[in-house]
């Protein structure tokens, strides 16, 4: 201990200076880096200042899968005079819950990305101010979430079981086609799905079974499915990328829950057939909505943004950007979609009010049945 005392008293001139220089340099470097960060961050509130020539800022709250071509957004801003500002505070259910929580002081002016399994919860909480665009396509009307027009349908997509064609050919087993088929012994231990409590496609598939087997039958179906070696994982990416045999993960399960569009992404360059396919008799249709947030600072701009989402240009941009179908059926689809990613002719349906009333209880029952 003595040497400490000696040391702390002893050396001054050279070493202290050296140490100070080192500390100084470190501090300087840190400040320089921080300065760099502040410079880089300077632009992030650039849009907050209402521009002189337009209607100010429109704050769009969306989920983290939102995407549109940059030039469309630029054109909208130039034409309308609005400046768009996006925030993406989560996905699916998390987004809706945040909108409800912040109802008294909304996160933005307009929300995009609320889907039909959660829409009712948001409508019941009076998060949205009704708005029906003048140009609402005829094909969109069937998807309206309520009569008041709280939400505007923008795009649709089907959640379906996918199968690995290659696996079934190699093993000489016929592919399943329906939900009931999965209960057959030859499909034992071949199916993987995400958990409805933690995954939005997982919840959609639960709803598909409710639509298929009714209030009284779906629980038994899951019990049988579970007994037939069903594998449940946490999220879609887990199921599709790790466990599915037909994706890059090359897992052990040839039947997976995914989207009707997924096979289009597995087509090798120049090939004319997809190695995987969607079972179109097992689907539930997800509808994504946009809505003006009640208490928005710029409701005008919010409505203009919703109109913008329904323009032909944006509707045509949606498949390539967000992997879902435009709600407007007059819009031409990419060729690979019509070949490899058709929508289901008759997806299973559950009335929105039934979803609203039972969703949480269904998830609870599902958990008790399948997880135990």
């Amino acid at each position: 201990m003595f040497h400490h005392a000696r040391r702390s008293r002893g050396p001054r001139p050279a070493t202290v200076r050296r140490r100070r220089a080192a500390t100084g340099l470190t501090a300087l470097a840190a400040i320089a880096l921080a300065g760099c960060s502040l410079a880089g961050g300077g632009g992030d509130d650039g849009g907050a200042d209402p521009s002189a020539d337009g209607g100010g800022v429109v704050r769009v709250v969306t989920h983290d899968s939102f995407s549109l071509s940059e030039d469309l957004i630029t054109a909208f801003e130039a034409d309308s005079g609005y400046t768009l500002e996006f925030s993406a505070p989560g996905d699916g259910g998390a987004l809706v819950n945040q909108l409800i929580l912040t109802k008294d002081s909304p996160l933005g002016d307009v929300a995009f990305g609320v889907d039909n399994s959660f829409a009712s919860r948001a409508i019941d909480a009076e998060v949205f101010e009704p708005y029906t665009p003048a140009d609402l396509p005829g094909s969109a009307e069937q998807y309206l979430a309520d009569d008041a027009g709280s939400l505007t349908p923008i795009d649709v997509g089907d959640v379906c079981l996918n199968v690995d064609h290659t696996w079934f050919t190699e093993h000489g087993i016929a592919e399943p086609a329906t939900l009931e088929d999965l209960l057959a012994p030859e499909y034992r231990g071949l199916t993987v799905v995400p958990n409805p409590a933690t995954s939005s496609p997982g919840l959609a598939f639960l709803l598909a079974t409710v639509g298929a087997f009714g209030e009284d039958g779906w629980v038994d179906y899951w019990a049988d499915l579970s007994a037939n070696g069903l594998k449940v994982v946490q999220g879609w990416s887990d199921a599709y990328s790790v466990d599915f045999s037909g994706s890059t993960g090359a897992g052990a399960y040839p039947i997976v829950l995914s989207y009707s569009t997924s096979p289009a992404f597995e087509v090798a360059e120049g090939a004319d057939s997809a190695p995987t396919g969607a079972l179109l008799d097992t689907c539930f249709r997800q509808v994504e909505y946009a809505g003006v947030l009640a208490g928005a600072e710029n409701p005008e701009g919010a409505r203009a943004f919703i109109d913008f989402l329904l323009t032909e240009a944006v509707q045509a941009d949606i498949p390539g950007q967000m992997y879902v179908y435009p709600v407007d059926d007059r819009v031409e689809l990419p060729e690979s979609w019509t070949t490899f990613a058709p929508l289901a002719p008759e997806p299973f349906e559950v009335a929105p009010e039934d979803i609203a009333a039972n969703r949480d209880a269904w998830i609870q029952t599902w958990t008790d049945t399948v997880i135990g």
Binding site: A22, S65, V96, N195, Q234, S241
Partner: protein, 580 residues
Amino acid sequence: MSGRVKDTGNTVVRTRGRAGMARRRSAVAWVVAGAIPLAFLAVFFAWPVATLVARGFTTDGALDLSGFAEVFARPRTWRIIRLTLVQALLGTALAVLLGLPGAYLLYRRTFRGRALVRAFVTVPFVLPTVVVGVAFRSLLTEGGPLGFLHLDGTFTAIVLALVFFNYTVVVRTVGGLWERLDPRTEQAARALGAPPWRAFLTVTLPALTPAIVSAASVVFLFCATAFGVVMVLGGTRYGTIETEIWIQTTQFLDLRTAAVLSVVQLVVVGVSLALFSRARARRERALDLQGRPADEQTAQRLRLWNRGRPGGDLLPTVVTCAVVIVLLALPLGNLLVRSLRTPDGWSLGNYTALGTAGGDNALTVTVWEAAANSLRIAVDATVLAVVMGTLVALVVSRRPRNPLGRRAVWWLDAVFMLPLGVSAVTVGFGFLITLNHPPLDLRSSAVLIPIAQAVVAIPLVVRTVLPVLRAIDPHLREAAGVLGAAPWRVLLTVDGPFLIRSLGLAIGFAFAVSLGEFGATSFLSRPDRPTLPVVIFRLIGRPGPENYGMALAASVVLAVLTATIMGVAERLRREGTGEF
């Protein structure tokens, strides 16, 4: 006192008066130093969290605690609490047991490539859990390289992954103290005839205990509040309080249940912290610390064999090799190998794709831009965390004379550990409902991201710096004071050099935490300025082999980035050491 003024000489009184004033002034300075980080924590942590939890306990404006009875009546609640505790205890015990030989080997022995191994073991700590989940699961799943072990979706897999993440915390925290222990004490014991194991048990281990307890408390908190890894690896069978809070808040908006569980989590965390703190305080004492790492003075080469017989270094080496190869390198190697796999065979295609926005425009920015965002945010978060954390550590390392001061210091220490024990979703949702009016209208501001990350990093900075400061012999400070040094001068000359040495590590940790943080960031992130983990999460959530390959390549980039920064931080520490 005034009565004695006349009796004693004038000079004495003046000095006493001045000393008293100086002491009072320095006490005020310490209070201020503690108040700054405390205010930061109150605004950016306590207030948002308390507000959200309070919502869960309010029905129509009145306090309603019936949620407790309801939640505790469910068997699921008890199962989850039990699982949380068991998993955290096992994870911590294993991390400490395996980490001690690692700390010895990497900080007490020299061998070629040591710096590389040191940097390498840090990588898991900062990898986003989504990536680790995939890395582990693709190893363990049926048909995977380790599929024959049938570990997929098991409790064992979760515990192993927790060790994977936290191994480095033990190695670094314990190693940092170990390399400065004066080897002569142990040598003396050996000279007096104690066998090596006995010298270790009676001399070295007790000296290391504060650092071990310190590391264990951090690891325990990390394990008890683990989220992503439990979600992904636990299949659906195993949940923790943390995952349950996430589900109840983001999926069901059942704030009542979430609030009850948050309180339960706080109790679990609070009790364990109190236990750890007591264990630490009992063991803590001044240590014979070396100015420089021991190996610089008496370079101890790694010697596996001693005259043809297994030497004392053999066991730690074998254990560490096993951990590093099987537990760390295998999943990481798997990640690396897969990142080189493209639809057209082996190539660097996934890495060249990082300059694009992904297949079918999966992203709004390129991965490199996201990496730049991450780095910028990390600089801000690190500066914040290190400044606040150092202030806390300095204040907490004092030993005030009056009991009130001592208690205040104890509370300050405990309170700053809490961010590790509160769910990111609670903090994230809390931000949304509190920071929504001027002057703190920050919800959509990018400033909130580094702040949220700093809140998580501060406890690590404190735990890194504090053991070193606490190990300073208080007599040193007293002696300096008696010799006439002003309090600021004592701080500068006695604490300063120790502080600077531990700061490199603290900076590295803070940077790493910020780079890898996903939970709170994902709620605050803006699509035009995403961070690297957010981008990885997004890529992995998209179909198509290009996106998946890019996600893996981006994870490798994140891993390399972090390892480099930790390596530089370590070097910084060396240079800052100097002679004293």
